[in-house]
């Protein structure tokens, strides 16, 4: 493992009595894609802002691209690209004016600029829209423009705060394709997301809840970390099925996904008795099988343990 691109040590931030981030300790390897997941208000944006050196930690420290965010915040800013959660570009400027503006701020040399901007417009498919006002772009295109602006100075580390929030699925897939391309170029990406399917695509994932990092692992390791079997069960009436199951012993947690139920088994084997019990009560069970839990299952289970 090479030297880390991001390190945090007991990184803490409070707002009055609220502890937004509580003693965060992290190491993100260079060239990796680190995802931080968790519900809104869990402290993800606060972590992002502290790493981008635009928010002062209350205590503890963080080092990004080898520089301390408290000691050399401006140095950090030269080496990172940051995309805030809220669209932060100028809606009354065109696509190309926005990119040019950021290229100037990062002092991108004139010689390389033309070529680099063409490339950024190319991979983000924004070339035909370069003269359009940013405010007139669709949500997905706005985010791609944000990414292009954050990349105009070829940063070492990319900090993306929920970049795909509210973006349609097709644009989300395009966006992730771009991220994978960037990863191949050796850039380190630190991304926060509320979508757990996106978290599965990360090299490593950190689960954040109420300011605390619950766990930090590869997605596979997280899924195996539950240590208990999980059953997926199909039913016509999942709500009623869940009701019945809750009255049974040995059932850990139940989550409903449409017609599917994900059931964690605590001690006993999930038996046919339970299924027949449900059938007795007039609930049709279409089928069941043991599955590997998804990140979401694990995350919900972990939060419930607290």
């Amino acid at each position: 493992m090479n030297e880390p691109a991001i390190v945090t040590k007991d990184l803490t931030r409070t707002f009055g009595p609220v502890v937004a981030v509580d003693r965060l300790n992290l190491g993100v390897a260079k060239g990796s894609l680190f995802g931080i997941v968790g519900p809104d208000g869990g402290g993800k944006s606060t972590v992002m802002r502290m790493l981008a050196a635009i928010m002062e930690p209350t205590s503890g420290g963080a080092w990004v691209a080898g520089l301390s965010v408290t000691g050399d915040g401006e140095g950090v800013k030269e080496r990172i690209g940051y995309m805030s959660q809220r669209f932060g570009l100028y809606e009354d400027l065109t696509v190309i004016e926005n990119i040019d503006f950021y290229a100037d701020l990062y002092e991108v040399p004139k010689k390389e600029r033309q070529q680099r901007i063409e490339r950024l417009l190319g991979f983000s498919n924004l070339t035909p829209f370069s003269g359009r006002l940013a405010g007139r772009l669709s949500g997905g295109m706005k985010q791609k423009l944000g990414l292009a602006c954050a990349l105009v100075h070829t940063p070492e580390v990319l900090l993306l705060d929920e970049p795909t929030n509210g973006v349609d699925p097709v644009s989300r897939r395009d966006f992730w394709k771009i991220l994978y391309d960037l990863l191949k170029e050796g850039i380190t990406i630190f991304i926060s997301t509320a979508y757990l399917d996106e978290a599965e695509r990360c090299t490593r994932v950190g689960l954040m809840h109420n300011g605390r990092l619950l766990m930090e692992e590869t997605p596979d390791a997280i899924k195996r970390s539950l240590g208990r079997p999980m059953i997926e069960l199909w039913s016509d009436n999942p709500r009623k099925a869940a009701e019945v199951l809750r009255s049974c012993r040995g059932i850990g947690g139940i989550s409903i996904y449409g017609q599917k139920l994900h059931i964690t088994i605590e001690k006993e084997e999930f038996s046919c008795d339970t299924v027949s019990l449900m059938r007795d009560k007039g609930i049709e069970v279409k089928g069941y099988r043991e599955i590997l839990p998804s990140l979401e299952d694990v995350f919900i289970a972990k939060v419930k343990e607290l």
């Binding site: 635009i54 928010m55 800013k77 940051y82 805030s84 809220r86 932060g88 100037d104 701020l105």
Partner: protein
């Protein structure tokens, strides 16, 4: 400091102003409109005072006196009454502000060379107008008395004979000193208002978070934001001066270049103040309200525009030193009316520069590239 980044910020601001017709209109129309409104509304000259006459004499002398008053242009006779009580009615209803009551033997006494009393009643509810009216009447009657005495071959009575000459504003037109002062007041408000929105707007729209995550330095950001508004401010001053000279007919005795140069120093302070307010406010509405109150009131009341600073109580007089409009009012009046040169205005120029630099420095310190 990197010129490229300053240029980038300035260029961006310029595009944003250009694409926002409302702010563009505000920037160029507001000074013109304010100058129009205030320029016509504020006048300290008293003309056509409505006067009622009660002439019991009906002699040649009383006629002459009344004709002389009307001919002066200061008085307009709105009615002649035949009863003292009718005068009350005129004054009570406000139909007349001045009443002149002439006794039966006015002409007779004058011809004999005996002092002839003349009763003048003035509505004092507007004391400023009343004082001016009294002054006019005194001057008129004195002039009239000495003319009568002269006709009778006697020497005029006054022993001290003042020969008054008014310098700098020989016609005593109040417009001539109001308009230059007004330009100073208007520019004080406009300058702060122009920039008060720029920083707050970026916080409100969420663009500031992205901006402070770049390596742009605070002075670069502030100077970049000042530059386009500096240009607008210059155009505003020029427009105001042109209006003053060509529409209001105020003579510009001094150098237009000196005026523009000193306006530049004033604008630097005013625009920096707007930025400082904007940094503190973080919302456009609050910022614009603060800048209106913080500039208009002191500029209007404490700059010497409306009320002479020399007549203020000491505590207020001290405060006026911190009001930049005070220096700008003095500078504009000086250049317009006296044709003052830089040597005469060196004090004002120096203090104005100090104000600008101090506010600019505070704005730089206050602006932090941090959230929360």
């Amino acid at each position: 400091m990197k010129p490229l980044r300053i240029k980038a910020i300035a260029h961006k601001e310029l595009i944003q102003i250009w694409r926002d017709p409302l702010s563009l209109a505000m920037a160029f129309m507001m000074p013109v409109m304010l100058l129009f409104i205030f320029g016509y509304a504020i006048t300290l000259d008293v003309n056509d005072l409505k006067t009622v006459v009660y002439d019991r004499d009906r002699g040649s002398a009383s006629r002459e006196l009344i004709d002389g008053m009307s001919a002066s242009g200061y008085f307009t006779v709105v009615g002649e009454v035949h009863d003292q009580r009718e005068i009350d009615r005129y004054l009570d209803s406000g139909e007349a502000l001045v009443a002149v009551s002439i006794q039966e033997d006015f002409s007779k006494k004058l011809h004999k060379g005996i002092p002839a009393p003349l009763q003048v009643i003035v509505d004092g509810s507007d004391s400023n107008t009343a004082t001016i009216a009294l002054g006019y009447i005194n001057a008129l009657s004195e002039g009239y008395a000495s003319r009568v005495a002269g006709m009778r071959g006697a020497r005029p009575l006054p022993i001290v004979d003042p020969r008054i000459r008014v310098w700098y504003n020989p016609d005593l037109k109040s417009r001539n000193f109001i308009i230059p002062g007004l330009i100073a007041i208007i520019m004080a408000v406009i300058a702060a208002l122009l920039t008060s929105l720029t920083v707050a707007r970026e916080w409100e729209r969420g663009t500031m978070e992205q901006l402070i995550a770049t390596p742009v330095r605070v002075p670069e950001l502030i100077i970049g934001k000042l530059l386009p508004y500096f240009g607008i401010g210059f155009v505003d001053v020029l427009l105001s001066v042109l209006l003053a000279v060509f529409l209001f007919g105020v003579p510009l005795k001094g150098s237009i270049f000196l005026l523009m140069f000193l306006s530049g120093i004033f604008l630097f302070g005013g625009l920096s103040l707007g930025i400082l307010i904007s940094i503190g406010a973080k919302s456009q509405l609050v910022a614009s309200q603060i800048s209106m109150v913080a500039t208009f009131l002191p500029a209007f009341l404490l700059s010497g525009f409306m009320f002479a600073i020399a007549n203020m109580p000491k505590a207020l007089r001290v405060i006026t030193y911190g009001v930049p409009a005070r220096y700008f009012v003095a500078i504009l009046k000086g250049i317009f009316l006296k044709g003052s040169t830089l040597r005469l205005l060196v004090m004002e120029t120096a203090l104005l520069s100090v104000f600008g630099l101090v506010v600019f420095a505070i704005a730089n310190r206050k602006f932090r590239k941090r959230i929360g």
